[in-house]
Amino acid sequence: MTPRLLTPPHHPGQVLLEKQVTEPPVAARAPYWTMRRRDELAGWLFVAPQLAGIVAFVIVPLGLVAWYSLHEWNVLAGTFDFVGGSNYRALTDDPRLGPALRATGFFSLGLVVLNLSLALFLAVLLNQKLRGTVVFRTLFFSPVVVTLVAWTIVWGFLLQDNGGINAFIDVLGLNTLGIDGPNWLRGDATAMISVIIVQLFKGVGLNMVLFLAALQGVPAELYEAARIDGASAWARFRRVTVPLISPTILLTSILTVVGSLQVFAQIAVLTQGGPGTSTTVLVYYLYQQAFQFHHFGYGATISLLLFVIVLALTVLQWRMRRRWVFHES
């Protein structure tokens, strides 16, 4: 008999037989490597790479951000001096901080509201009994897989003063009605709206798919019961659909909020934070301070502020879930 035959899954009888042959008779002393002990070791070994990675690339850097924020650090001059809270004072006195926070808030709020409503709207449309919804689902999802910068570039091209969007506005004769295409990326108000729109259509497909999966999990009997009770379509949506998919709404809103605070490539490619500072969101400001002006210490202070905002918003949403997220149990 070869040891290879020790564990054929379909012959439990044979396994027993083999065990009797190959394993020593049960000793009086229990073996050290019990299943519990093996699992202790296996558990730690399995999570070790991930844990080491998080410590090295998240926890330690986060500590360093806090440490750097207490220093005046000029990379070009090679100086690294402890300055206590002076970066924080500079931050509260920074005339550019207010506009950056406003831009971040405007972008995030605009994107999250539009993204979640459009995602839910499209998911409801696709959830109807209709032929060809798979084709539409594929089309709505397709921007998610288009290279982010490629998608941003083509929108930048479309949004030029003499670009595609304004040309089509003219072709449709809208300019004769007094609607003239603005220079989208050069106007204070339109620049931020443009960036929001570009990111909206890039990413909304992902939330749409998650919503669609949630909608398909709502039992049809519930709608039937609501209909018999005389509930209107809107009442059914509001009282049946929304509560039942609320866990998905929570998840998508957390992911979309955190994602919206990370927007960088779109700003860097479309507007470079302009015109003026109207699209300089916090991440972009942080990049400018650290990697264009070489103020690493001050940049670290902005990083910390960004972290606090992400943390606060996530905790807030998680806390509020008790108010509106429906649990079956």
Partner: protein, 276 residues
């Protein structure tokens, strides 16, 4: 649903499609137009005359083939590495009882709250002191081991939790150890979660922009997103047809794979632990 209702629904769906589909169409067609046509009025939905001039320039102005290869190999390594790390960790968090599991899980989850943008300054200093700036190491190591891998681990964990315990007990009777149970019993069943993680991770790496522009400085090291924005004329104005040609080349292969495998894509994502 009535005939009228259906027609109305199709109409709404078609209108909704425009902002999703038109940009990609415009990108691909404009890249084939001669320079004098791309801003022509009225705009042409189909190129009047076709030229591959822009595609030739893409490769003349930058080592675009090399840059393409960079993006591909980095994304593949990051995806494979993330799959190994996240499936092991996700399995352990879902299936193995070990002391400290709760604390370790909280530490790992903290990664979800710390976007890479927050830690980019110390990460830059760390790789700088190791002499690894202007190499691909940061673009591989940070996504694979750092914050972006946490979502992957979370998805894997959510999936493994749903597997019935009896499956593993049968394996145990057959004498499998932990690694055997993981590799031979649980992992083969985790295909939807693996697919979702692979797609997420690949796209994340493929789209990475802040890290390349912070860490890389020589053109032959660049990745695609960074290279796309470098096609500018002497005055810093965008060479639109060249940018669009390069953009098309970066987007089309992934789009084609997506269309061919769209069911696995969409349903894998929908059925992953992200369902909530």
């Amino acid at each position: 649903m009535s005939r009228k209702g259906k027609l109305l629904l199709y109409g709404v769906l078609l209108v909704c499609c425009v902002p999703f589909v038109f940009p990609t169409w415009w990108m691909a067609t404009a890249s084939l137009k001669p320079v004098n046509e791309i801003f022509a009025f009225p705009p042409s939905l189909i190129p009047q005359s076709v030229t591959l001039d822009a595609y030739r320039q893409v490769f003349e102005l930058q080592p675009f083939g090399q840059q393409y290869l960079n993006s591909c190999y980095i994304a593949v390594i990051v995806t494979l590495g993330t799959l190994v790390i996240s499936s092991l960790a996700g399995y352990a968090f879902a299936r193995i009882t070990f002391r400290g599991a709760g604390v370790v899980f909280m530490i790992v989850l903290a990664g979800l709250l710390v976007p890479n943008e927050v830690t980019i300054i110390p990460l830059y200093r760390m790789f700088d002191s190791l002499g690894l700036v202007n190499t691909h190491w940061p673009l591989i190591l940070i996504p694979m081991l750092g914050a972006p891998s946490v979502l992957a681990t979370f998805i894997m964990r959510q999936f493994f939790i749903t597997l019935p315990r009896e499956l593993e007990e049968a394996g145990r009777v057959d004498g499998l150890g932990r690694l055997g149970l993981f590799w031979q019993v649980s992992l083969p069943l985790a295909r939807p979660a693996i697919g979702a993680v692979a797609i997420f991770t690949f796209l994340h790496s493929w789209n990475l922009y802040l890290e390349p522009i912070v860490f890389l400085s020589s053109k032959e090291k660049f990745t695609i997103p960074q290279a796309l924005t470098q096609y500018v004329d002497a005055y810093g104005g965008a060479m639109w047809n060249v940018q669009l040609a390069a953009a098309t080349m970066s987007a089309l292969p992934v789009l084609i794979i997506f269309v061919l495998a769209q069911r696995q894509f969409v349903e894998g994502l929908a059925q992953s632990g992200l369902k909530g």
